[in-house]
């Protein structure tokens, strides 16, 4: 049986995907999409966050087959052509990236937040990123980046 789903806007279909394979393993090892990181592998760090039908999940805790017929968005699918997504841009501008390992997961979690709550308060931002650990920045600039991106996206929308 073939596993078919939409990955970053493109339909794909794969043979021989073992049932126990995680979505994270599928993305990194099979498809070579290395933007999604493995930190803890047990759902505590959020480095492997991706969007499944627009909602953030830990790809390490998701079986690859669970995405059959659904839409998966990874960090590779965020940029708009040659331009970074406003969230990515804001992370760069706010200095919210240090080693960068947690950044893709942070961006995906923030993307879920902003698509459901365009004008979040700081507390809401922090809660939405509570499942994403950063060991470098102390979070302050990450929250600032999300706030900045929210503003940018609202301006685009208006």
């Amino acid at each position: 049986m073939k596993l078919s789903f939409e990955l970053n806007g493109e339909a794909i279909s794969l043979e021989d995907v073992p049932g126990e394979q995680s979505l994270l393993e599928l993305l990194r090892d099979r498809l070579g999409l290395l933007g999604t990181k493995e930190g803890c592998g047990v759902g505590e760090c959020g480095a492997c966050s991706v969007l499944l039908d627009g909602k953030v999940v830990n790809s390490c805790l998701t079986a690859a087959w669970q995405v059959a017929g659904r839409k998966v968005t990874t960090i590779e699918g965020m940029a708009r052509g040659d331009e970074l997504h406003p969230l990515q841009e804001a992370f760069v501008e706010a200095g919210a990236v240090q080693c960068g390992f947690c950044t893709p997961g942070m961006v995906m979690a923030a993307s879920d937040l902003l698509s459901h709550h365009p004008d979040p308060g700081d507390e809401q931002i922090k809660q939405s990123l509570a499942g994403n650990l950063c060991r470098c920045t102390g979070y302050h600039d990450i929250v600032r980046a999300v706030r900045k991106a929210a503003r940018q996206l609202r301006e685009e929308g208006s």
Binding site: G19, V56, L61, Q66, A130
Partner: protein, 286 residues
Amino acid sequence: MSRYLKAGSMDEALEVLAEGGARVLAGGTDLMIHLRRAKQEGGELPEVLLDVSGLDELRGLELEAERPYLGAALTFRSLHESPQVRKRLGALSQAAGQVGSVQVRTTGTIGGNAANASPAADGVSALVALGATAVLASPRGRRRLSLDELITGPYRTGLAGDELILGFELDPPPDGAGQVFFKVGRRSAVSVARLNLAACLDRELSDPRVVLGSCFPTPRRLAAVEELLTGATPGEALWRQAGELAAQQFQEASGDRPSAVYKVPAIRRMTARALAAAWAELGGEA
């Protein structure tokens, strides 16, 4: 290698379970950790991963009925975001919002939380407080189990190998009762509860409920505390007394565990605080 199978109907799901060798997959947030460990340690993988998340019967949410019903495959995120659940099942709504992280809540399910049977399961403490009975199905038919019968010990259940949790029938406290869920962990998010507590109070204190999780082998109602509260005069003194008694119950049940040094005072104060909060929800004086 495991074979993934998405159940298209209840009959199909039960048939596959009856054949043996299948593990039920709902959200996967606990199961995937087990599979990862099995892969790393060369342990045995289940023959079949049976995905039941698409079955309609497991996704129902009926709150208007006399016995409200929650489908087992409802995610914590959907429970937390539902205004109906917030209004009628406040303790569950709050518990659902404190499970893991957004990522875990997006896929993790209430039925999976019960089937995994962790003593620290946040969702289970809320279910116990709401008087939940699990509805199970197997090729032999259906049966109902109280949560005590369903969850028999840490990570142990009374589920037969071919049984599936369909959902939970609830016997919640009277409409409008104050309901709260409190949790203490090592950090404020993504933590396994060191202690969790669900409490419900109605204005007459006719049907008070207090459940402690992470303290006993399974989350459990504190009968003695509920008895103390029933029909008593509400107020700070009563809440404190209840906290005292809750801590005592824990000590009697668990003896001098190393964690008691921390848990006893925590239970005492958290119980009193939770009851005050539940009463405040009713608009009562603290």
